[in-house]
């Protein structure tokens, strides 16, 4: 099993390096930081712009491979370079990574757990009203893009806040200048987390519940569930211990693919709810031709998606003895 995971990890490192190189190349090719400086008023002299660009390591007059080499040389030591405002990319990275991870981890956990349970429940209650209701709701949620769902949640809450009763504040991570003890702050943070988490979790719940329902239906028709029932254990125990437990195995594959969607959704959600996370940073950086920041976010994306793939591999090996001894 360790050998299997070790080989997967090796493959992932190769993928990661290739992804970083391509993103550096794409960012360099399509962005024009020189224009950013030349567009300043008053316009700085050309020599100053050149000096500034060189210092940041993004001077288009330096050959591409040389620029990449310099960047990579720093990157392997853990230094991701300077932003276009000449601040440290690492500092900015450190400030924003926590914001994104809070949203990503919470959204993934809520989405996966609730989705799996809803799907399994739907499969057990196949054709009944509750199954149909879950199906209809998940279809509508799957047909609503995350950005629109987040926007609708925001509009709906604003309307409720203004017209009915003040429910929650949702812009940013905290209410600025809030007075009170630890619990007040914790509650405030939780309230701010609610809508963004819902935005990304709802779609995930819908998608996972469809997959889980399908795999669970397969398992419900399986011979081994029949064997379990034939032993005389309670049907509910059989469904959970033999049915759901086995139906989770193919879900690990969906989990690996699903995380890409969660990541994208989280980036949009940050932007809509004014969270200063990686997605927000990325969109700002693109608009300002900030090459090093853009590459840093790409690196972050590749790492978290690979990690989620690795987690899926580990989960698969943990859940399925057939994979473990292969």
């Amino acid at each position: 099993m360790l050998g299997y995971l070790g080989r997967r990890a090796g493959y992932y490192v190769v993928l990661l390096l290739t992804a970083v190189f391509i993103s550096y190349a794409l960012a360099t090719a399509s962005m024009n930081p020189r224009a950013y400086f030349e567009g300043r008023r008053p316009q700085p002299p050309a020599a100053m712009v050149d000096a500034q660009l060189t210092e940041l390591g993004i001077n288009d007059k330096v050959p591409f491979l040389e620029r990449f080499g310099t960047w990579a040389g720093h990157a392997v030591t853990g230094d991701l370079g300077r932003t276009i405002d000449d601040t440290s990319v690492n500092d900015e990275f450190g400030r924003r990574i926590g914001v994104s991870l809070r949203l990503l981890i919470l959204g993934t956990l809520v989405g996966t757990v609730v989705g799996v349970l809803a799907g399994a429940w739907g499969a057990i209650r196949q054709y009944r009203f509750s199954d149909r209701a879950v199906t209809v709701v998940s279809f509508v949620l799957l047909s609503t893009p995350v950005f629109l769902l987040a926007t609708l949640l925001k509009i709906g809450t604003t309307w409720l806040n203004d017209n009915v009763v003040h429910l929650i504040d949702f812009t940013g991570e905290t209410t600025p200048g809030l007075q009170g003890g630890f619990l007040v702050h914790l509650g405030d943070r939780a309230a701010h987390l609610l809508l963004p988490t819902l935005s990304i979790a709802l779609g995930t719940i819908a998608a996972y519940s469809r997959y889980q329902r399908a795999t669970m239906l397969d398992v419900l028709a399986s011979d081994y569930l029949r064997t379990a029932l034939a032993k005389g254990i309670h049907p509910r125990t059989a469904m959970l211990r033999h049915g759901l437990r086995t139906a989770l195995v193919p879900m690990t594959t969906f989990f690996a693919f699903g995380f890409l969607g969660i990541f994208t959704g989280a980036a949009f959600t940050e932007r809509i709810f004014g969270w200063h996370g990686m997605g927000d940073w990325f969109m700002n950086a693109v608009n300002r031709n900030d090459v090093n920041s853009v590459v840093a976010v790409n690196l972050f994306a590749a790492v978290v998606i690979l990690l989620s793939g690795f987690v899926a591999d580990v989960l698969l090996a943990v859940l399925d003895p057939r994979v473990r001894n292969a």
């Binding site: 080989r7 493959y11 993928l15 990661l16 290739t18 992804a19 391509i22 993103s23 794409l26 960012a27 399509s30 962005m31 196949q126 054709y127 279809f139 509508v140 799957l142 047909s143 609503t144 893009p145 995350v146 950005f147 629109l148 926007t151 609708l152 509009i155 309307w159 239906l217 011979d223 081994y224 569930l225 029949r226 064997t227 379990a228 029932l229 034939a230 032993k231 005389g232 254990i233 309670h234 049907p235 033999h242 086995t246 195995v249 693919f257 890409l260 990541f263 994208t264 980036a267 990325f282 969109m283 693109v286 031709n289 853009v294 790409n298 994306a301 793939g309 859940l319 003895p321 001894n325």
Partner: protein, 870 residues
Amino acid sequence: MITFRRFVSSKGVLIGALVIVLLFLLGFLGPVISPWTPTQVDYLSIRSAPSAAHWWGTNRIGQDVFAQTTYGLRKSLIIGLVVALFSTVLASLAGAAAGYLGGWTDRVLRFCIDLLLIFPGFLVISMVSTRLKGAGWLVFALLLGVLGWMISARIVRSMTLSLKERDFVRAAELMGVRRSRIIARHILPNVASFLIIDTTIAVGGAVMSETALSYFGFGVQPPDVSLGTLIADGTEAAIGYPWMFYFAAGLLIVFVLAVSLVGDGLRDALDPTSEAARPKRGTVTALPRAEAPPADVVLSVRDLSVRFGDAVAVDSVSWDLRRGEVLGVVGESGSGKSVTALAAMGLLPATATVEGSVRLGDTELIGAGVRTLMEVRGARVAMVFQDPLSAFTPVYRIGVQIAEALRAHTDLSREEAHARAVELLRSVGIPEPERRAESYPHEFSGGMRQRAMIAMAIANDPDVILADEPTTALDVTVQAQVLDLLRKAQRETGAAMVLVSHDLGVIAGIADRVAVMNKGVVVEEGTVEEVFARPKEPYTKDLLAAVPRLDAVVEPREPARGAPLVEVTGLTKTFPLTRGSAFKRRVGTVYAVSGVDLAVRPGETLGLVGESGSGKTTTLFEIMRMPGVAEDAQVVFQDPMSSLDPRMTVGEIIAEPLRARGLPVDGVPELFGQVGLQAEHASRFPHQFSGGQRQRIGIARALSVRPKLVVLDEPVSALDVTVQAGILDLLVRLRDELGLAYLFVSHDLAVVRQISDRVSVMYLGRTVETGDTATVLGEPLHPYTRALISAVPIPDPAVERTREHLLLPGDPPSPFERHQGCAFRGRCPVYAALGAGDRQRCETVPPAHEERRPGHLVACHFAQDGVSTS
């Protein structure tokens, strides 16, 4: 046609399709009929609510929302279509190429797919969006397509991989059909339905991606509009001026929803196993009975009927099981024999409608509550299922699963239950039970799994054991062991047993009484001696007449003369054993075949016999690949369903070998008649025929190019006994009429005896005995052949019960290991009886396949010694 009707009969699909049509009309006609253009500004009405002048109101600078929204809808729809088509084309090309070509193409493509998957598309598009600004929407759409094909490509790849393994593709390859033609005629049509569904769903996904990117300013650029830019513009005003937001947002959701409804309906229509095709929930009704069953009856079935939707599976079946007796329930597939047993245990799927009465002592089981069933199942009535691999939960250890059965009915602690499970495994003959209890089901051989299943069944000392085809999935030597164990378990626990089987030989050997089922009805019931010796019903008579018997007397034919059509000596074929997906490495060698000798002369039938893993199929394919053989030889496969391309008409299938050789196809109608089919059916598809008819189609295809040799790979193994008899008759008739030679591969000695002139027996990739059918099966010299013959049950209780059974210990060894000396010695009774000096010869020197008597070849050092003991 059937699928189309199913497709439109779904309400969701109809609504979805209607909505899509309406939205397309709105998108394409809206901008035309609107009195305003999208960019036109009406300075007099800014932010005005819907009115006669502005149907959907105006926005913050006075543009008409209807004109803008319908125009934006059109743009989003066009982009969605372009993206979906483009990404599906990419996915199918990349997936099919990777799957079919394999090797480095596959590895490179999979690396690219993985790379794109860790590189979120929206990051890439946003990054290059500054460059896209001048390029227009088409470049944006193509880029979206390039970044969105990976998951579909993975699916196409795995579908192609599994199609490549299907018999109809292998059949086409053996016929010499060109690779390009195989892709065009066999691979693509079978992937097409997936691609249609995928494209449909991809349209929805593409519209969602487009709108999201446009919303954040990375997609469609002003002054151009799409639903995404309109939603972005309207968001701030949504509460005060809802028309600026909700028309665009609503259209987006409704369109994507409609697309997923249609996609889902398409999937159901094209997938015959989909939920929509299944019957709805059934009901369970216990019928009252006039009198209680007699005291010596433990299980009593009265007027039991089972339906699935409109299909009747069991029709008013009654039987009684007396204390300590074995009742054999025999029938062909679809006779309802297993359904009866499952209905008694309340284990049928929810779609079954059950009616009648099943009494266990005083307890009525039909319609019984969960508590009652839990007390009965596993404690008073235990079951042994057919396929021991799928009958164990793959993720739990064997010991845990047996302990679970114990703990369900006792208050044993975890440790006590485990200790008892180990004891049970020991009692059913599992070696090293302490260690094997810790194994997972996939680490057990088929025979060991079935032993463990029996251990679980006897765990709580039940009154009744229901065994549903308990040996069907096993090799014949292992079947003999398991039947022996079942008999022993039944005797020792004193349980009564119902043994459901299609195999009359198995029933003859084990049952006291027998119930013969046909089409859901018990046609005849009686003691096993009575029914086998003096069947009353025509169906029983037919069944007994159709089953081939190993002890039948077959008139030998003239020995064949002439140079062999095919001859091999010492044939060896190894496969590399590899691990890892991305970076494959070789970890060993599988010796599929290592020393096969055989020859087939013109007009002769050679029966090639062996258990699973003996290398029969590998031998067959190696022979077909030998230079010169393919021109004169054709293959008939085991499973007629998988060897016929489901998307081709039967006429096209039969003509395919002719077309592959560029020959005229006008003889095809005649071929239909030759195999007993009607030429008018040429335009039908394989699924419209029964199993036996499909096998006739496979035979007609093989005969189309007038081969001298037909290689038959288990041609009747997937068929019921009565159908099997018809196919064997046809094969004999064609052989005599056309002077064909057959290489007849089978695990079934009785069938081989019936049709073969000569027999060749294989064990673990080697030929161990060859000779005339009567000699090899009548006076076998090799100890393996003797055990094999002894293990085949004879469908006659008088004979079967007086025969001496020679049980081989253990399972057939794995071809993954290389064996020194004689590969059979681990299970060999002759070897076991030898002295140390003689044993050494078996351990070090592989026995040669040599002539011991005229025309009778044997690969055993001590074959002669064995003769004297038999």
